[in-house]
């Protein structure tokens, strides 16, 4: 399958529900032949530190107790595994925002191997040839 237009996702939130939703979008786009670029900022980047990926990142405030339970009861595949599968099945790349890296005083070595590299924001837009989705 030839990839057609690129899906450009900016992940800002670092809660498990939003990362889960973003990972589902990524895997869906990847299997349908879309190239996906994911730009990780702030708390999403923090969640992708090698030693934090599998930790409990909580859920968005709107989830409430019931929402939290509903999400955990369903036996979902962890978002990091969905990103891994999407990279295996399609053309998916994850990039850390250089500014957020500086804010946390971290280097590429501190990040999970899912992250392909560090990008400045202009590099992300240089590759974003369509709409940008912010999560």
């Amino acid at each position: 399958m030839e990839p057609d237009n690129t899906v450009s996702l900016v992940l800002f939130s670092g809660t498990d529900d939003k990362l889960q939703a973003a990972a589902v979008l990524t895997v869906g786009a990847a299997v349908m032949g879309r190239k996906v670029n994911v730009f990780l900022q702030y708390w999403a980047l923090d969640a992708l530190r090698a030693d934090r990926v599998m930790k409990d990142h909580g859920v968005s405030p709107e989830a409430g107790e019931d929402g939290f339970r509903a999400m955990h009861d369903q036996g979902k595949t962890h978002w990091s595994e969905l990103f891994r599968q999407s990279k295996d099945l399609g053309e998916v790349r994850l990039f850390a925002c250089a500014d957020s890296m500086e804010m946390f005083h971290i280097t590429k070595d501190d990040l999970d191997p899912l992250v392909d590299g560090v990008w400045g924001v202009a590099s992300f837009f240089a590759e974003a040839d369509g709409p940008v989705t912010f999560i």
Binding site: V24, G28, V31, G33, G75, T77, L89
Partner: protein
């Protein structure tokens, strides 16, 4: 049961949330050989649109879909 085709692999993905059943099917297609017939059982509503959409995109054949009690049964042939 399909009479004309021998099911090479059956995947029981019932209870798996979206996109689990589709991902299981993709895995089986990748591991299989051309001509293999793969059966997927799914109770996920998303599969009803996702599996046909992916098959159309990837060029594999949807042989049959049957509605069972609380789940759907997809029969798929690996074409390439």
């Amino acid at each position: 049961m399909t009479t004309a085709t021998q099911v090479a692999r059956s995947i029981d993905a019932r209870g798996m949330p979206c996109p689990g059943p589709l991902m299981s099917l993709i895995g089986a297609i990748r591991q299989g050989v051309v001509g293999d017939v793969i059966e997927v059982l799914s109770s996920d509503e998303g599969s009803k649109t996702d599996i046909p959409a992916w098959l159309k995109k990837s060029g594999h054949e949807l042989v049959e879909v049957t509605e069972e009690d609380g789940f759907a049964r997809f029969v798929v042939r690996k074409v390439r």
